[in-house]
């Protein structure tokens, strides 16, 4: 516990033990979170346990409170009710600010910064000297497919590349938990599936815990250890589905029978929710 906190405060959690062992130790426990905006209840009694090294995807109809959930986990918002435990210690939601690597829907790159300087933004804000931060980022560039582009500006990049810069920024900000909010939502399907496989590689290599929002069922199943299906407003966790498909996952897994079975089950649930939100 203490070693963990120390590691976090240093900004770098080097997972030394094999994943099989770390899995199961809870990083973040959310219990009965409820959040209201005026008359609207965005989240109701949402409980999730996020374990170290896990890849969790969240899927649900629009307006199900996914973004609210993310804002709370990122420490940007506080729930009206419920408890949050960080490494089994009860904390206030605001304490999570700066403890989680957050990647929003849009890449939100700063147009006046180069690829390299955009990537180091988070660690620079943390206090890492620029030169050191740049050196770190330079080493990561090839892995993110950005080698040779370090001096480019965002307006000179394609959508996929911009997203990779944003991801690199998130990875460089070394936190146990990464929050990815529909990072590939704006990409075409070919680029998207390439990015998904690539993300899994990176995730496995860097041993992070990921909470990932998506609208795309295939993506949710393909990436996850666990899929959370959320209900229409008020947002609740309607179903929690473990995905035991073998890793590393290959592109053709989406046509396998197991994959299809899971997809059918999830589709049925989501269909029901979508109808509800459509009718209301």
């Amino acid at each position: 516990m203490t070693t963990n906190s120390a590691a976090i405060s240093e900004g770098w959690v080097e997972s030394v033990s094999p994943r099989a062992v770390t899995k199961g130790s809870s990083i973040l426990g959310l219990q009965n979170l409820t959040k209201r905006f005026g008359a609207i209840t965005a989240l109701e009694n949402v409980s999730v346990d996020i374990n170290k090294g896990e890849f969790i995807t969240v899927i649900g109809p629009s307006g199900c409170g996914k973004s609210t959930l993310f804002n709370i986990v990122a420490g940007l918002d506080s729930p009206d009710d419920g408890h949050i435990a960080h490494h089994s210690r009860a904390i206030d939601a605001r304490e999570l600010l700066g403890q989680v690597a957050f990647m929003p829907q849009q890449d939100l790159l700063l147009p006046w910064r180069t690829v390299l300087d955009n990537a180091i933004l988070a660690i620079e804000l943390e206090g890492t000297p620029r030169a050191k931060a740049r050196a770190q980022a330079l080493k990561m560039l090839p892995e993110f497919g950005l080698k040779g582009f370090e001096k480019h500006y965002p307006h000179q990049l394609s959508g996929g590349m911009r997203q990779r810069v944003a991801l690199m920024r998130t990875f460089l900000f070394r936190r146990e938990l990464m929050l990815l909010d529909e990072p590939f939502g704006a990409l075409d399907s070919l680029t998207r599936s390439m990015m998904q496989r690539w993300l899994l590689e990176i995730w496995q290599h860097h041993e992070r815990t990921v909470l990932f929002i998506t609208h795309d069922i295939d993506e949710a199943i393909f990436l996850a250890d666990r899929v959370l299906v959320m209900s229409a407003r008020p947002g609740r966790v309607k179903l929690e589905q473990r995905i035991d498909l073998p890793r590393p996952r290959r592109g053709d897994i989406v046509t396998s029978e197991e994959f299809m079975a899971i997809k059918r089950r999830l589709l049925a649930e989501i269909e029901e929710e979508s109808m509800k939100s459509f009718a209301s």
Binding site: N71, A74, G75, L76, L97, G98, V100, F102, P104, Q105, Q106, L108, L110, P111, W112, L121, A122, E124, L125, E126, Y153, P154, H155, Q156, F173
Partner: protein
Amino acid sequence: MKAWIAPIMRGNSFRLALGVLAMALAWQLSVVLFKVPVHYLPSLPLIAERLSHYPDPFIAGFIRTASEMLIGLAVGTLFGLLSAVIMQRYRMVRHLLLPLFIISQTIPVIAFGAIVVMWFGNSLLAKAVIAFYLTFFTITVNTLAGLDSVDPKQISLLRSFGASNQQLLWRLQLPSALPAFFTGLKLAVATSLSGAVVGEWFGDTTGLGVLLLQSMYNEDTISLWSAILLVALLGSVCFGVVAAIEKRVLFWQHKQDINH
């Protein structure tokens, strides 16, 4: 067309030069062809002769007005930026001060001639103060709009990285407000020049504003046009410099424009 001319032809400055030349030609032709009386529109050679014959007051006036304007513009820009940042950070200050700022701009400065002379004398400072008075508000309002328009998601992102208020201001808000700030600065060039010229009407001996006033009351159209052209030169040069700086600083904006 020769290959080396083409890129120049596309340049803004070339287009401007061409435009100025065309205007000068139209001016001169209309004066000669329609025999426009001198007291309406003197011919360009007459103006050139006046400027070369008595260069001293015009040169001194140009320098004087330029320095008044630049001091006013510089101080106004600093003050405008600072007040915008403070108003953006502290809602209360904005609620309390912004109405006063707005009211201050509805008061015609020319009505304050006597007070300005009383407080600041005939000094260069007095005119710089008027230029400042006409400048800061444009900067404040535009910068404030720029600071306000920063994408809240962007702020959330930086906050989630644990950014402090200071870091947020320098890394995100100020750079994001730059386009709006430059819009304001370009407007402020004209208003600060206006302030310097009007300021000189309250009892001064040198300056382009003095020359304007003097030639108006002496019904001396040649000097009047000479002074107007010099004011135009001063305004255009300053505007051009600001626009050039803007282009360099906001490189990403122009690139985006081309892409669209």
